[in-house]
Amino acid sequence: MYRRALVTWCQGRSPVVFAQDVCLYYPKSNETANLRVSRTIVPGVCRTLTAGTPLFSKDPDELPSQDATQRRDTKEAERQEEGKPERPGKEKLLEILGQMKVEVVSKKPKVPQEEGRSRPHPAEMESTISMFQEATAGVSQQREKLSPKLVAAASAAAASLPDSARAESELLQQLRRHEAVTQAQKATDGSHIGNIIANMKVGRRPPLAQTGLRNPLDDEEDEHGGRRKAHSRGVATDEESGRRKKMQLGGKRLNIFTQVDAKAKEEVAAVPAPLTLSLWDVEFANTIGTVVNTLPRNGFEEMIEWTKEGKLWKYPIDNEAGLEEEAQVPFQEHIFLEKHLDEGFPKQGPVRHFMELVVSGLARNPYLTVAQKAEHIAWYREYFQSKEDLLREAGAC
């Protein structure tokens, strides 16, 4: 697009040159054209003349005169649009341009001549202005963005072409596009030529897709080619990323295994892993364990090791740690031991009394398990049963 813009710009220029040629061949123009020129230029005659070609001068002071030229030029265009093609109009325009050039080249002798001619016809002036305002209200808004000098030049150029109205609008459109792009460039990064080049799409290949697909083997094999490519791209991007080829790891695959869909995955997950580890698994875990660095780096890490080995109390600290089996036994089993006296002991008497004391003592003993307590009572049961005769003799039973 940009290239085209440049081309049209050139096209816009050539008529100017052409105009110059024309003015070289026909140094003198007809009255009207000359009149107009002199009329518009009057306020700043000297400056206009000294500034060289007014089309490309940058002095803002000249704007009034340029506005006038523009208006006049567009008026010419409007006239043609309205279907009144004026052969002389075109000629006039060319003459104007030629005149201006000539004035520049030989300015001193011309100056008095111009001043002498400077008298506008007010009626004509008015009419042209109003026409212009009515017909091109919309266009003018767009045009505001463009430099009036450029517009003038464009319309002048267009006038030289057969279909001048269309040519002019095309030219202006191109110029506006050009303007828009320039503005965008300015907004981003001054007038850096690198940016302009970078934004050009000419001959630029999509780099990522290509390198991604490139075979890594080729990548390494043609070192020089690869680097050259990187450099050529490096113009646009910054140096660092240009040097580095972006390599996508594992972009390509072997395509041996079929993809498992979610359902099959669930099925796999549903199958329980074998509960018993084989010797191979255990030893594999051991190998990994010996290979990695497991030395504790501080006291806490050492304590973690010890906790895992079971050498340390586990957090949170619990004084019933290690009594997991006892935890299954409810406390009433420990406390209410009278039920053990139901069998094998007399219902009353000193033995019974003694055993009740034993049971109450055992109930308060936290150090014995229930089984041990039962065993204790069972010992007394046996003892008293073996001594039953003696007890009977003594009348204690």
């Binding site: 083997l217 070192e223 695959r253 010996t290 660095n293 780096r297 957090y315």
Partner: protein, 633 residues
């Protein structure tokens, strides 16, 4: 509902949570040695060799205690611990069941007594007992794992020792691994018709596990083609191998084919069969594929990334070993000394790899995981890419990734490479920062590293730090390891002129260096004086204005049969002149003539012109001149 979620906040997730939280608050102390040496300040290692020695002794002490407890369990019956701590009690290594039965066999297998278990199995068969399939498979596992030999007693201690005893200078983990494998296969091979095969053929019925065990054993002990024969047999019996058997076969594939392309074809064939049988590959499958691919020559480069792509497509998370194998495939040639020119071209692989994995926490899933960091750092060193090295290092500091650096010697090598690179590429401020951060706590530099550091000092004009560095050198026990380090220190100090304070500290340092030379009182290893060392010492002392000590050095030339340089004698003469000590000047000329230096005549002339000489001294000078003239004739 809300209640439970509220409470769960206050519940401990596990018994380690408190300790882990506390541990995360402890930072490494860069000035201290490793935590394992905290108990006894006397046994704080100062050098790499001491570190090795002390850790080995610690380990062997632990093993000795365990050995005693296990050998004499009858002395350790009292159980003081409440609750009971099983790991402190002696392990029962002797079988309790003695009669011939399945339980006895099971116990023998559990105790890993290969030979007795085989005997027991034979006797069971003779007695007509039918041993269950599962138990026979367990027995097969045992025999195949240990290659039909009893495991070496104290198996735990052995790998630790070999790993610790590894020479630090050995840079390539690949080479080391190769050595391991060789020594492994040297005294352990798969004997023909061994017990495993015999029992396998005796089995009335065999299942996948029996085949798998035998295949794995065959591959482990080098009977590669046999393993493939067995696999064919298995296919004929319409059995599907499990993933472990396939892994073993893939590992064996490069051994049974000659051409690179054929090797790969076989690997691919195995993978295709896995897919056909519906065996899901694991991480280890792909790591084995990559490892085998490394033996397929130039093919490996083209294929490793595709293997990685396959893993990703299947949703298998790669481990560090995966990346290590890929790196090896790409950088193997670049790192070999013969092809230095190609080093530049593959930078990008490690870069993009780091893009992918930086910030990730890795678990140890493959024994090869520990090679990654060393290899990556090695690459950074060869490429001289400091930024890349920092990225690798930051990955190491993520989570528990430091564990994957492997044992201390590997750690030392890693930090050595890193520091070497930093010395080369960074300015001296950063270098010293790294030095202070790494040196006593993480690794003990060797003389090469110290030379790098000296060069970095020299490059940044911070020679004034040399005395400090020399102290470290001495403490690290490097002063006497190689003479050139001491020489380099002296040469750097003698080379330029400095401000008086620095000259003073240099002079002290030079005297400290001097103590390393000559014969010490104890039978310490010392260095012989060289001419350049003596010259540099004398120059430094003269520059600091310590004439007397410089003269002592001059005497040492004679004692050690070394010849001083002319420049040094000139400097001595200058210092004698500034002190207008004509006595010294004449002695100097006499000394020069005794060394028969060609400059004697010139020196004598200088002395005659520049000093006020007594008659006696003039005569002495004339004598010297006469002798030197006669020498010339």
């Amino acid at each position: 509902m809300e209640m439970t979620s509220c409470c769960s906040v206050f519940y401990f997730r596990n018994e380690l949570a408190v300790l882990q939280a506390l541990s995360s608050t402890v930072q490494r102390d860069p000035t201290a040695s490793h935590y394992r040496f905290q108990d006894d300040p006397y046994l704080t290692p100062r050098t790499a060799s001491e570190f090795k020695l002390f850790s080995l002794s610690q380990e062997s002490g632990r093993n000795a205690a365990k050995y005693i407890i296990n050998t004499y369990p009858n002395f350790f019956l009292k159980d003081y611990a409440e609750p009971h701590i099983p790991c402190l009690m002696p392990e029962s290594l002797q079988p309790k069941v003695t009669e011939v039965c399945e339980a006895g066999l099971r116990e023998l297998i559990h105790l890993r007594k290969v030979r007795s278990a085989v005997d027991m199995y034979d006797r069971l068969l003779q007695a007509g007992t039918v041993v269950s399939l599962e138990l026979t498979n367990n027995l097969l596992d045992l025999i195949c794992f240990y290659g039909d030999q009893d495991p070496v007693q104290g198996d735990q201690a052995e790998p630790e020792k070999t790993a610790e005893g590894e020479v630090v200078q050995d840079p390539a983990p690949r080479r080391k691994e190769g050595r391991f494998r060789k020594s492994d296969s040297l005294h352990r091979t798969w004997r023909k018709d061994n017990n495993a095969e015999r029992i396998f053929h005796l089995m009335p019925e065999r299942n996948e596990r029996s085949y798998g065990a035998l295949i794995r054993g065959m591959v482990k002990y080098g009977a590669h083609s046999k393993a493939f024969d067995l696999y064919t047999d298995m296919q004929n019996n319409r059995m599907a191998a499990d993933v472990h058997a396939f892994n073993a076969l893939i590992a064996a594939a490069p051994e049974v084919r000659q051409k690179y392309s054929e090797k790969w074809d076989l690997i691919a064939e195995m993978l295709k069969q896995m897919n056909k049988l519906g065996v899901r590959p694991t991480l280890l499958t792909f790591n084995t594929v990559l490892k085998s691919l490394l033996r397929c020559g130039p093919l490996s480069r083209a294929l490793v990334l595709q293997v990685l792509g396959e893993m990703k497509a299947l949703g298998i998370e790669p481990s560090l070993a995966t990346y290590y194998h890929i790196l090896v495939a790409f950088y193997r040639q670049a790192l070999s000394p013969s092809t230095l020119s190609r080093t530049m071209l593959t930078t990008d692989l490690l870069h993009s790899m780091m893009d992918e994995i930086s910030g990730k926490v890795f678990d140890a899933l493959d024994p090869d995981d520990v090679y990654f960091f060393n290899y990556a750092m090695n690459i950074c060193c060869s490429l001289k890419d400091l930024g890349l090295a920092y990225r690798v290092h930051s990955l190491l500091n993520v989570g528990d990734n430091w564990k994957l650096l492997g044992n201390p010697s590997r750690e030392g090598f890693y930090y050595g490479s890193l520091f070497n690179l930093v010395c080369m590429m960074e300015n001296i401020g950063v270098v010293l920062q790294w030095y202070r951060d790494l040196v006593p706590s993480l690794f003990y530099p060797n003389s090469h590293t110290m030379r790098d550091l000296l060069q970095a000092l020299d490059a940044d004009n911070r020679l004034d730090l040399i005395p400090e560095i020399w102290k470290d050198v001495k403490q690290l026990g490097l002063a006497t390891v190689s003479g050139d380090l001491a020489e380099e220190v002296l040469a750097l100090m003698a080379r330029d002129e400095h401000s008086p304070e620095i000259q003073e500290s240099f002079a002290n340092c030079a005297l400290a260096v001097k103590a390393v030379y000559g014969h010490g009182e104890q039978s310490q290893a010392t260095l012989d004086f060289t001419a350049s060392a003596l010259c540099n010492m004398a120059t430094i002392l003269l520059a600091a204005g310590r004439t007397d000590q410089a003269w002592e050095i001059l005497q040492l030339f004679k004692a050690n049969n070394r010849v001083p340089s002319e420049k040094l004698l000139d400097e001595f003469l200058n210092s004698a002149k500034s002190g207008s000590n004509s006595e010294q000047a004449v002695t100097l000329v006499q000394m020069s003539s005794s060394f028969s230096l060609p400059a004697t005549a010139r020196l004598a002339q200088r002395v005659e012109q520049e000093f006020d000489l007594s008659e006696e001294q003039k005569k002495a000078l004339q004598d010297v001149e006469a002798t030197s003239d006669s020498d010339k004739d």
